[in-house]
Structure formats: C-alpha cells, structure tokens
Symmetry: C3
Subunit: 262 residues, 3 copies
C-alpha cells in the first residue's frame, strides 16, 4: 500500500511512523485510518520491529477528525464513522497488543482522536509546544480511538471526564501534571531523545515486553485470580524463549544479557 | 408522589434536587430512598431535565443511614437493608446512566451513603464547610450506595480503602487533594456557582453527554476492543441526532452551535 | 508443616508472618511458595487471626525469585514457574480475600515478586531503608505474584508499566510519592508501629473488613449495577452478625462497640 498520510521506515529495529500531511494538519480521514491500520499490522507482524515511534510533520500533530468530510451527506455520516473506526480502532488495538513498546513524540497540538493516540502510547514524550484539545463534544461527538479507555487510565476519571465533557484544552505542563505525558522534553531535543528511548527499548526482551503490555491491558477487567493465572502462564511462556533462557544464564555469570527477539 | 424528604423543581433545564429534612439531618431512611428513586426516574425520563443539581438544606448535608431505624427488630434489619438499597441503588444507577450531567453542591458534613453520592456526581463542588465521614465500619457495616465503586475511581484504592476501613473523616481540603472534590468554592458562592455550572451544561449536547458518561462507566470493566467498539457505536448514534448534525454545520460556518436535545 | 522459610505466630489476634531465611535473602523458591500458601490458609481459616502482619529478617526483605534454581534444566523452568506460582498465587489470593486486613512492614530491599506482596498489602509501611526493584524484565521474565494486578491499582498504569518495562528501582520516598507505600516510618520504630496498627485493626469488625476488602477487589471489574447489588448483599450479611447488631446498639447508647468476630 502506497502511503499518502504517513511516512514509515524501519531502522535499528524501530518502526518509525510519521504523520505526514502537514499542510492539511494530519487529519484522521478515511485514507489516514486505512493506512494507520496497515502500518500497525506491519509493526505487529514484522519481527524487525521491536519498538514503535510515532511523531508528526507540520504545525499540528493532528487536528483529529476532518470536519469537511462530515458535511453534505447526513445519512453517510454514521456510515463513515463506522467505516473509519473499523480501520482506526483495529490499528489502535494492534499497536496496544503488539510486543513492541510504543513511544510517541508530540511537538504540537493534538486534537480529537489524536489525544487518544497520545494516551495509548506506552511513553508519551511531549515538548513544551505540545498541547491536547478534546474537540469531540464541541460538535456533539462522543469520543473515539480509545479515548474513554486510555484517558481515565492515565489521568483518572474526574479529569478525563471533565476534559471531554467541557471540551478542554490542556498545555504540555498540564498533561505532565495530570499524568497524560510521561515527560516534557525541550522541542529541539524531542526527536533525538524519543529515538534514543525507542532504540534502547528495541534492544530489550521484546517478547516479554509484549506479555507485560497485555497483562497491563487485562489488569483492570480481570478478577484477581484470573490475572494471577494469566501472569503465571505469561511467565512460563517467556521462559520457553531463547532470549529469556540466555538472559538467565548471562545474569548468573554477571554478564549483560543480549536479546534477539527469539 | 408527594415529596417529604426532598424538594424538586425543574428550571432552565436543570433538575434541582434538594435534601430537605434539615431538622433530622437528611437521613437515608426508607422514604428518602423511595423518593430518591422516583426523582432519579423523573430526571432520566423528562427531556426538560438536561442537567441535575443536588444540594441540601440544614446543618448536615446528610447523616447517612438513620441509626434509630436500625434498632429494635434484629430480623428486620437485613430485610430493611435490602429493601432500602433496592430503591436507593436504582436511583444511583439511573442518575449515573442518564444523559444529564450531575452536579453536587455540598456545604456541610456528608456521612455514610451520602459520601457515595458526592463521589458519584460528575462534578462535586464543596465549600470549605463541607466534610465527609465514612461512618459504616463504626457500626460494623460495610459500605453501600456505590461507595466501593465510585470512591476508588476518585481517590485511588489505597486512600478509599483506608477511609472505609478506619472510618475516617476528611476535610474539604483533603477531599480536593485526594480527588474526591472537583473544586472548593466559598460557602456563600456555592449555590450560585453550582447553578451556573448546571445551567451551562444544560445547554450542551445532552445526548452526547449521556454517551460519554456511559463510556466512562464501562471503561474499567471492558476489554480494550469492546470499549473501542462501544465508542464507535456511540459516536455513530450521536451523528444521527439533529443536535450533532446542526453543530457540525454551525462549526464549519464558524458559528456557535445550539443544542436542543433533539 | 514445619516451617523453614518463615516464622509464624499468632498473638493478640495478629497472625505474624516473618520471612526468615536472612542468609539467603528470603528467596521465593519452591519451599517458600508452599509454606506461604499454607500460612495464608491458616490465616484465613483460623478465627484467632483477625489481622496479618508480614515482615522479614535479614538485609533483604526478599530478593524475589532464586536465580540459581532457574539454571541447569531448561525444560524444567516453565514447569517450575507453573508449580511455584500455583502455591504462591493461591496464597496471594487467600490473603487478599480473607477477612483479616494485611499490614506489611518493609525495612529493606524487596525485589521481583516481593514487590507484589508490598503492593497487595492493605497497608504497606516502609522504613527509609526500604526500596523496591522490579527485577523481572532484566532476565526476560514478565511479572508474577499479582504485580500486574496490584501495582497499577496503587501507582497508576504509566508508572507501574515503566517500573516493569525498564526494570526500575524505587526508593522508599518514591514509593510514598507514587502511592505504593502507605506511610514511611523510621526504621527503629517500624516493627512497633506496624504491630500497633495490626493489633488495632485486629479489634475491629473483622467480618465487615472482609466484606469491604472483597468489594474493593471487585470494584474495577464489576459493572456499576453488579457492584451496587454486591454492596447491598454484603451489608445485609454484616447486619446478621452479632458484632454488627451489638455495635449498632452500643453506638445508639453512645458506648464504644466491642467486636468479637462473631
């Protein structure tokens, strides 16, 4: 699939996804959603990808939904929502469930569904130029892209609910204070530091990272006992991998372990 | 139903519920629970109600359960609990699931089940005179009214558990610090500000607010994928409403949208 | 069962569990897990136990898993994980579900699975000498012992995930700031204060405490309505107990209630 909405390359085991329609503000239109799904599939299936970095080009990280595509055909609007979210939500799920940790670097305004992408990332690195804007309820929309799943898990229910109900905008500082941002990094160092974190994580025990990611996703909906059993099974699965076996033996010999995603 | 425990009126699309047995401390007795359920039903069914404001008259917001009604008939006590909670819990659920945002104004001590009502509200505005008292375990009661559902979602499990286990009392300031209160407002301005917030929200996209409320309720018990699909369906439903269609078109023309709960 | 890994005694209604292989660093080996399960069963079944205190002897609270037992037999490793967690996880569940509140006193480094024991405790009292170390992903292990259940509930998903993914070590101060520790107590007073808290709680309404514990465990995975009904049923069950009936009558007479776990 030829990409129009994104750049995508794999280097040093990092799948680097860049939102790349700067002149349009990187809108979440139908094409964007389709390409996002395909890239997420590639990141999940290609064993070269052991960490994912998401960033953007242009003056907006993303404006979110494209207001223009909503106009004109009233009957078509709910159909468009269902079609676009089929793709977009599948991509959100693939990245969330995939083994590779997801690092997001946000250097500008993220609005609407893009806020959910910030919240969903395992590490959300924001510059002082970043901000988030709810956007949805301003046009009578409820929220999508996992907003209602990830935001309460980052900032708590009171703050997340207020954000969407009263259509708020938060500065980078507020994002850090509330727990949405992992860290604030000066704009001119953002790309470099985000890439360094992605490359560091790409050398870790990737399969194990995937187990931890999925245990954390199930943590809130599982009973204690189901979660304990899932932990036991995940850990046993890890110990069957070469990476884990080699690491146990390296650390016993006081050597630094090397992980090859085997 | 003639109200004895409450005042209730609808004005400017705000359903205004006032606990109104000041001389008795607004206890949660059988009549209170029945009336609460009926008022909650009315707020949910009457399309004139697009926001709910809960406040109280008298020196206590509420003392919670009425100790006197517990005495005398030992066999009757568990039956009373089951009967009263049938009404009370149904009311809690109706307000939580209903489209109208719930604003609570608390200017005095809230004890026992009343703390859950504070926690359940979408916006809990407290004056410096407000405080909350667990009360339950002091008489060997576990907690009800949604205490164990809402409190951990507001203040985290450690703090909420300690509150109920060691039967604590928290000042308004502690409620704000821990995340139970949305805001502290000087006592003499509390009614005015709470009403202003309720009236502001009553002009918002009410149906959409209901979708957001319900997405937030399901957020913690749903898997990621179930929540994503629920988001897609809720958003598609919003786009079928006149309010949302009109708002999209207004905002595209740089006009302020008007919402009529249609 | 003769204990090798622990000391265990019951005094003043406190079940006092001490990790007691100081020279080995109190490792979570097969014997440890089996004994832990048996002690947890005893605490849950013996009505003399109305609070549980967990502490440790030696320079480590616990080093967690025993690296040496992982070496040598690759095929045996996943089997060992499954066998050991059968015991360990059953013990975690019994203590979490049992009526007796669990107080933990940590005066040294807790690593790996021991961090989950700290997080699982209802009250985690740490001295300034305490610290926690993730340990798992350093050898390609995902986490166990309820780590992924309890840690996000204490410190939020962002911090908990980072802890396990990047194999972090947190000081006692960080544990307090993030919400893992309930309190920091000077090392020389730790035992005394932890015992005082355990003895205080051991005189409370033990059955009611168990109901509150279990309501909090189900809080996140239940729908609102299921949780409300569980609250109603738990409260009705409490009111059938002598302790609760006597307490209601004592408090009505302005007398201090006495609870006998009846």
């Amino acid at each position: 699939m030829k990409l129009e909405s994104f750049l995508f390359e794999i280097r040093n085991n990092v799948g680097h996804i860049t939102l790349n329609q700067p002149e349009r503000g990187n809108p979440f239109d139908a094409r964007f959603c389709r390409e996002f799904k395909e890239i997420a599939n590639e990141c999940d299936e290609n064993p070269e990808v052991r960490a994912v970095l998401i960033d953007s080009n242009g003056p907006y990280f993303s404006v979110g939904g494209d207001l223009k595509t909503f106009l004109g055909d009233r009957d078509g609007l709910p159909r468009f929502i269902k079609s676009a979210t089929s793709d977009l939500h599948s991509g959100v799920s693939r990245l969330a469930r995939g083994d590779a940790p997801v690092i997001l670097a946000c250097d500008a305004l993220a609005a609407g569904g893009a806020v959910a992408i910030v919240a969903a990332a395992d590490y959300a690195l924001l510059s002082e130029k970043a901000s988030v804007y709810a956007a949805f309820s301003g046009i009578g929309f409820s929220c999508d892209s996992g907003s209602s799943y990830f935001m309460p898990r980052r900032v708590g229910q009171r703050k997340a609910f207020d954000f969407y109900l009263r259509n708020q905008k938060w500065s980078a500082e507020q994002c850090l204070e509330y727990g949405l941002a992992s860290e604030i990094i000066p704009s001119e160092q953002l790309t470099e530091k985000a890439l360094a974190l992605a490359e560091e994580l790409a050398q870790g025990p990737t399969y194990t990272y995937g187990q931890i990611k999925n245990l954390f996703h199930s943590s809130q909906e599982n009973t204690l006992e189901a979660q304990l059993e899932q932990e036991a099974r995940a850990l046993a699965d890890c110990t069957r991998r070469d990476d884990t076996w080699n690491a146990v033996n390296s650390v016993a010999k006081k050597q630094k372990p090397v992980f090859n995603y085997k």
